[in-house]
Symmetry: C2
Subunit: 110 residues, 2 copies
DNA sequence: TCCCATACCTTGACGTTCTAGGTACGCGCG
DNA sequence: CGCGCGTACCTAGAACGTCAAGGTATGGGA
């Protein structure tokens, strides 16, 4: 990810994770891989950002987790959305739209 | 500005300032007011963010400044884009588009 | 055997923003 | 005249999120 993306990612990571989990429960590593795939590597989620984010979001009650096992027999922690998480997703999605529209007004061509 | 916006603003402030100055030289306070006006207060630029940002961007060679006087006789520091700033504006604008499109892919409705 | 991918996590540094202050001046109002 | 408000600059300290770089562990393929 180029440097210019790194800072813009700030604040969008939670939204990305919330949206990813809205498709169904997933474990941490898979969340990161899915986001990178879906965005063609535009958003690269470092593990040093991912796990603190998951911890943070859990503490805020947006997601919950339990232990499970992957296809290849590795222990995995499976995250899923809580009702509060769904509400937060709606709020942050709407907010993102507002921001994008506001940016568009500023960035409109000469 | 709601909390949810605060974090997304991260990284977009430089772009907002660069774009504002692309319309012509302005002083710091006026830059903030113009952005707030144009975005209907979606983006609120605190002075504690503004002045460090202007200093930073000047150090990076994107903008330059000189002293002047406002309509009502107050001393003002007038900022303007450098050629490097214009290039940076093009780069960050393009990058913003890429990010928005990537986010759209993730956020697409179920 | 060794390396890679999977999968979890932590530490410390770094950059950016915010809160909350400070300075200074001119204008309008009572 | 005194006072508050808006303009206009600036800074220090704290808070926050991300990153680089490390660690642990296991299974599969070369």
């Amino acid at each position: 990810m180029p440097d210019s993306n790194r800072s813009i990612l700030q604040g969008t990571l939670d939204l990305l994770i919330l949206k990813t989990l809205s498709w169904g429960p997933r474990h941490g590593y898979a969340i990161a891989r899915w986001i990178e795939e879906t965005t063609d590597d535009v958003m690269r989620i470092e593990e040093g950002s991912l796990y603190p984010a998951l911890y943070r979001m859990q503490k805020r009650g947006w997601i919950k987790s339990g232990w499970g096992e992957s296809d290849i027999g590795k222990r995995i922690r499976i995250y899923s959305l809580t009702p509060a998480g769904r509400a937060e997703l709606r709020a942050q999605s709407a907010q993102w739209d507002v921001m994008v529209k506001a940016m568009a007004r500023v960035l409109r061509p000469a």
